[in-house]
């Protein structure tokens, strides 16, 4: 494939230009063009990955420049896989991943479906809905922190208005049972518009004539929804889930602003824990092993998911 491309490029190159770089084969010229990219890829992605793998088998600490790192085999991996606290972090992460994506897909699809109906002010509503996603997570985290404040926070007052409870009787960010949900709410508020936009693109890509044919066949609206709309939007929806899943896995700033991982370690997601190990405790070797474990997990899950996505597309 690449040979053919090279041949095509060579054939398309004017003779005068080709003469100027006499002595170099087409393959060599192709390599010259590709080399910077390959070099950057090796320097920025591949080398650090290999280096991280190597460090993960040592007790290296980046803040102890005077101490030679020792090779400790699989000890870091053994510690990680047997550490109950890390499994708790993983559970927090799984809880966060599942519920944020669940709500974002549910609400995002519903909003897209509603926005897709032609009505007056459609564009204005679309703009208003996508506003949260344009804000910085640090800013969002900060102002939601005020909204959740038990004494002056609007959120508590709204809940109190509907439930009759005292606004300061519950602490969204301070109670173990509520803190994970406070993050789910904020992340859903912020990123549902993203899912909505992708779903909207999917909905708008469905040709009208399919619905017209269904009408002719006297298919009900409900049947049209489940046999036309959902299957045709599904690849888009799965793509949105993939994007949000990957983004949520990296979630850091929003949670740091909101809870700092607390109360206790209730909302200490793996990303926060990893940062603490690597750049606060300076356990570089251990943090490298931790990063590799996470990388393998994400890579494995993403591969399975992409295969499923391709199957859906082929249908």
């Amino acid at each position: 494939m690449s040979d053919k491309t090279v041949d095509r490029v060579a054939a398309a190159t004017p003779v005068q230009v080709a003469r100027k770089i006499r002595g170099l084969s087409d393959r060599a010229i192709a390599w010259i063009f590709v080399a910077p990219t390959i070099f950057l890829l090796l320097a920025i992605n591949i080398f650090p990955l290999i280096w991280t793998i190597r460090l993960s088998f040592t007790n290296y600490k980046a803040n102890r420049i005077n101490r030679e790192p020792e090779w400790i085999g699989l000890r870091n991996y053994e510690r990680i896989l047997t550490d109950s606290d890390i499994w708790l972090n993983m559970q927090s992460k799984a809880h966060f991943q599942f519920w944020t994506i669940f709500f974002q897909v549910l609400i995002g699809f519903t909003l897209a479906w509603l926005i897709n109906k032609k009505f007056k002010g459609n564009d204005l509503w679309t703009t208003i809905i996508v506003l949260p996603m344009m804000l910085s997570p640090a800013v969002v985290g900060n102002f939601w922190k005020f909204l959740y404040q038990p004494q002056i926070g609007l959120f508590n007052y709204i809940i109190a208005f509907f439930t009759g409870k005292d606004p300061s009787s519950f602490e969204m960010l301070g109670q173990v049972n509520l803190a994970p949900w406070s993050i789910v709410i904020v992340d859903t508020w912020m990123w549902t518009p993203f899912v909505m936009l992708i779903c909207l693109a999917g909905l708008r890509s469905i040709p009208d004539y399919i619905y017209e044919a269904a009408e002719v066949d006297r298919a009900s609206k409900l049947r049209q929804f489940f046999t036309i709309t959902v299957p045709m939007v599904l690849p888009f929806l799965m793509l949105a889930v993939l994007f949000r899943g990957i983004e949520n896995f990296k979630m850091f700033d929003l949670v740091v602003q909101l809870t700092g991982g607390g109360p206790g370690s209730t909302t200490e997601l793996t990303s926060i824990n990893l940062k603490r190990e690597a750049f606060e405790k300076w356990r570089t070797g251990y943090a490298s092993a931790y990063a590799i474990v996470l990388f393998v997990t994400v890579f494995g899950l993403a591969s399975i998911y992409v295969k499923a996505l391709n199957k859906v597309k082929e249908r």
Partner: protein, 439 residues
């Protein structure tokens, strides 16, 4: 150690050579935390600029990010800071990792004696290994965790009567930790001038060092120790002693029954805000903030008073404060050492105290007028007599974050018991010391 000494000697040689060959004006950068005393130091340093011809620049980082920012700078061999007023716990890492210049030869050459400074501050801020005459910093800012309260509320007859009725005791500055809690509980959710107020603002912060600094205020007074014998790293029975468990249970009770709602992640800033906004009757914080609090137009002056962390089984306070060090990666070590020489001068130290900094120089502390110079000066002296500090090991960050996690899990997140929290803390610390090759 050899490396550090070598660095120190080399730095000193460079400094002397530099001073001998040229009196070149330098742009010096001093790094510290962004807080009230830092502003006082800027003012004070103008005198140094006028005298020396050097220009002083300042890099002040807010406390929650101070350790992260500065330790990253040091670990990467950064040249941002020529002088660093680093936290007391950094001294071990600063010395062993070669970040700080050893100052012994410089002190000897310039006639700066550590005997001129309060012994507790020299021990805590300057020496590594602990207690040995190897100096990596000059005591710059003495500090301890203390308390302040609404004097105007305490003096009100209606409140005094209500307290007497509720407890059978007179409302006064607390003399024990238990009495402190009792007073805070009395004020919790009390109506004062038509406003609901709360007991006390204590430290509960999770991310950096907050809850550890707060909880140790109780732990030390119950008799908590880090080791059975100093230097043994033998923690079983010391860290998780019956007294330590009781103290931790006490801190949790304090958090649950006498703090404002939503007070789950609070440190210095939140404590100051809670007090200045009239939300709480009492608050803990570092002495460093006391000049600013006293000067506050709303809650300062005759509305505020101060007291030392009350004893329980023993008298003790959590140590704060910092020493000033010369960063070994600086290209301007000679000028930086000049600053330290100037700063060690008793007259400059007196002015430092006058401006709101906490001098650790005996000439200032032993001055007959010192205790009356500020309403908190006497308390400061008492507090500094009983200060205890966290581990100062090179691996202090790992030790600190482990304690942050265990204490916050128990006190704020209500997970497990105090005994379990301290037992797990011993496990965490043992793992760190094993990794360090000290166990």
């Amino acid at each position: 150690m050899t490396y550090s000494k070598l660095t120190g000697v080399s730095a000193f040689t460079i400094a002397v050579a530099g001073a001998a060959t040229s009196a070149q004006a330098e742009d010096l950068t001093l790094c510290w935390a962004a807080w009230d005393p830092a502003n006082a130091l800027v003012e004070l340093s103008k005198e140094f600029e006028a005298q020396s011809g050097h220009t002083m620049n300042f890099e002040f980082v807010p406390w929650p990010n101070f350790a992260d920012r500065m330790l990253n700078e040091l670990n990467s061999g950064g040249k941002l800071c020529d002088l660093l007023i680093g936290d007391s716990q950094w001294i071990g890492g600063g010395a062993e990792n070669g970040h700080y210049v050893q100052l012994n030869d410089f002190f000897d050459a310039e006639g700066i004696s550590m005997d001129d400074f309060a012994p507790a501050t020299v021990y805590a801020y300057s020496t590594w290994p602990k207690g040995t005459p190897n100096y990596y910093a000059l005591p710059a800012m003495g500090d301890a965790n203390g308390w302040f309260y609404r004097k105007d509320w305490f003096e009100r007859e209606d409140i005094q009567a209500a307290y007497l009725e509720a407890t059978g005791q007179e409302l006064r500055e607390p003399e024990t930790q238990r009495e402190l809690l009792q007073i805070a509980q009395f004020f919790q959710e009390r109506e004062i001038d038509g406003k609901t107020v709360y007991g006390a603002a204590i430290f509960t912060e999770r991310g950096s060092e907050g809850i550890t600094m707060g909880a140790t205020g109780a732990l030390y007074t119950w008799g908590f120790k880090y080791e059975n014998e100093p230097g043994s790293y033998n923690k079983e029975g010391a860290v998780n002693s019956a007294e330590a468990v009781e103290a931790l249970e006490f801190y949790k009770e304090f958090y649950e029954t006498a703090t404002p709602p939503g007070y789950t992640n609070a440190y210095m800033g939140e404590s100051l805000d809670a007090f200045k906004s009239g939300q709480v009757a009492l608050a803990m914080n570092w002495f460093a903030f006391f000049p600013g609090l006293y000067a506050d137009p709303t809650t300062g002056g005759d509305k505020i008073d101060f007291f030392v962390n009350p004893p329980q089984n023993i008298a003790a306070s959590t140590l704060g404060g910092q020493g000033i060090s010369v960063v070994s990666y600086s290209d301007k070590q000679d000028a930086a050492l000049e600053y330290i020489k100037w700063f060690a001068d008793p007259e400059v130290q007196a002015k430092w105290w006058e401006l709101g900094g906490y001098s650790a120089h005996n000439a200032v502390l032993n001055d007959p007028g010192f205790v009356e110079s500020q309403p908190f000066a006497r308390d400061f002296l008492v507090a500094m007599d009983g200060v205890q500090d966290f581990w100062q090991e090179p691996a202090y960050a790992e030790l600190l974050l482990a304690m942050q996690k265990r204490i916050h899990d128990y006190v704020v997140a209500d997970q497990g018991t105090a005994q379990e929290a301290l037992d797990k803390l011993i496990e965490d610390w043992t793992e760190v010391f094993e990794d360090e090759g000290k166990l």
